[in-house]
């Protein structure tokens, strides 16, 4: 036990360097996923047939493929086509592009879950469709989005660990390089697991509180 603690103290700084990369990657991927996901959701809800079809196929195909294949495709295969991405760029494109399908479906489901009467009432008042979306539908959909969105965020954080395979120096990469030098896999993996768990706790707590605030402001 004593030995494990001293190993943790010794290697914590190295792992924390990886934490910075993991957080950066998570943040950037989340932004891409949310923005692109919202576009996908609106496209799938639109009556423009081409747009609708394109978004539907994108979602159905991308979410069926393992993230690791997508990651290798972005990092190695695109290079064959002359599109050279840095490890960070490839990781953000992959995770953002993959989680956009998850967030897109969450957004779409939430928008569809709003009662038709809401759209009708707003339309009957003369509100144009953009205003109906912005002032009536989305504020209500937001409520239904928070719990599943939190879930997907914790999945996203865990999936960032895949980027160690393309040598992006995230938490997993630092853990792996530490344990391959010190031969203390148990100590290092346990420490990394604890750090990932802390991420999860903090996010669950923050979003849980936010959700509660939203709920209370509406009663």
């Amino acid at each position: 036990m004593q030995a494990m603690f001293s190993a943790w103290v010794q290697y914590l700084p190295q792992l924390l360097r990886g934490v910075g990369v993991t957080l950066e990657l998570t943040g950037l991927s989340l932004v891409v996923a949310v923005v692109f996901g919202f576009i996908l959701a609106l496209s799938r809800l639109s009556h423009i047939r081409g747009l609708n079809l394109l978004a539907t196929w994108y979602v159905e195909i991308i979410r069926a493929i393992p993230v690791l294949i997508l990651l290798f495709t972005a990092y190695y295969s695109l290079g064959q086509l002359g599109i050279v991405l840095s490890a960070m760029q490839a990781a953000v494109v992959t995770l953002g592009g993959f989680y956009a399908t998850q967030y897109g479906e969450i957004f779409r489901g939430a928008i569809l879950s709003i009662d038709r009467g809401q759209t009708e009432a707003a339309a009957a008042l003369g509100l144009p469709s953009v205003a109906i979306m912005r002032r009536v539908i989305l504020p209500q959909a937001f409520f239904a989005i928070l719990p599943p969105a939190t879930n997907q965020l914790s999945n996203l954080i865990k999936d960032t660990s895949l980027v160690f395979t393309i040598s992006l120096a995230d938490l997993m990469y630092q853990t792996y390089s530490a344990l391959s030098l010190n031969f203390l896999p148990m100590d290092m993996l346990l420490l990394a697991g604890i750090i990932y768990f802390i991420f999860y706790l903090v996010i669950a707590k923050l979003l849980g509180r936010w959700e509660l605030n939203v709920q209370q402001s509406r009663s």
Binding site: L125, A131, R218
Partner: protein, 267 residues
């Protein structure tokens, strides 16, 4: 009635797929006229008034609303025409459809601010005046879910009136209410009728229809079966179909007894 015609339906037909909702509906509504539409469910009453503000498209015929002509069969009116109609025609729904994420006040001022670009303070002042008329000014800051059905429907009426409409459509405004809450909503509608608002009212409240409506229309079997002054249509209907419908509505216990009678002998 010789005043201006504000809604004029000519041979309007509406289908959902191959199923006919109503056919060949022809009807004029004059300024300040109160028209009550009654009839059995499934007759297309609600669908018809939803065609007036184009919440539903229709398939054949023409519908003139406040100087704009809507046509059937896939022709969509321009965005400007649609918006002009909808801002000048208010609607109250069976299920209230208040916006649950907005306070009572914000429900009412949303459209005046978004569509008419009225300043918030002015919109709020007008909203409070409307709420005071229905006795709900003390509920302005509350959220809809805290209100009773009758209060929600009165707020919904205020929300529609905040756009200062020329015509009001009521789609079975009291059907979802507990019986003891119906009166307060009818009172609000009655006052509106007395002020000379042009109204199309789908309702099952026969007594109320007789009292406030100038004209009563009975829709059944996919069309208008009877149309005329309220007292005449309700007390002395000319057609057999109207008589059958009215008897079922006004004397349900007798009808039930008759329906049960032939079966009695068998047991």
């Amino acid at each position: 009635m010789s005043s201006k015609v504000v809604v004029s339906a000519k041979h309007v037909t509406k289908r959902f797929g191959s199923q006919v909702v109503f056919e060949d509906v022809t009807l004029d509504v004059h300024k300040k006229e109160v028209v009550a539409i009654i009839g059995p469910s499934g007759a297309g009453k609600s669908t018809f008034i939803r065609c007036v503000n184009r919440l539903h498209p229709f398939d054949e015929g023409t519908l003139e609303v406040l100087g704009h002509t809507l046509t059937g069969g896939g022709h969509s009116p321009s965005r400007e025409i649609l918006q002009d109609i909808r801002t000048r025609v208010g609607m109250v729904f069976q299920t209230f459809n208040l916006f649950p994420h907005l306070s009572v006040l914000n429900n009412i001022i949303l459209a005046p601010m978004e569509v008419k670009k009225i300043h918030r303070q002015q919109a709020a002042r007008q909203a409070m005046e409307l709420l005071a008329l229905v006795g709900l000014e003390h509920k302005a800051e509350m959220f809809p879910r805290r209100l009773s059905g009758g209060e929600q429907q009165r707020v919904a009426i205020c929300r529609a009136l905040a756009m200062d409409p020329e015509i009001m459509l009521f789609d079975e405004p009291t059907s979802m209410l507990d019986p003891e809450l119906v009166g307060e909503v009818l009172a609000a509608i009655r006052r509106l009728a007395q002020q000379g608002m042009t109204m199309l009212l789908v309702t099952h409240e026969m007594q109320f229809a007789k009292e406030v409506a100038d004209t009563v229309i009975i829709m059944a079997d996919h069309g208008i079966v009877e149309k005329g002054p309220a007292a005449k249509v309700l007390d002395a209907p000319a057609t057999e179909r109207a008589r059958v419908f009215l008897r079922r509505i006004l004397k349900p216990t007798e009808v039930a007894a008759e329906a049960a009678a032939p079966a009695r002998g068998r047991f």
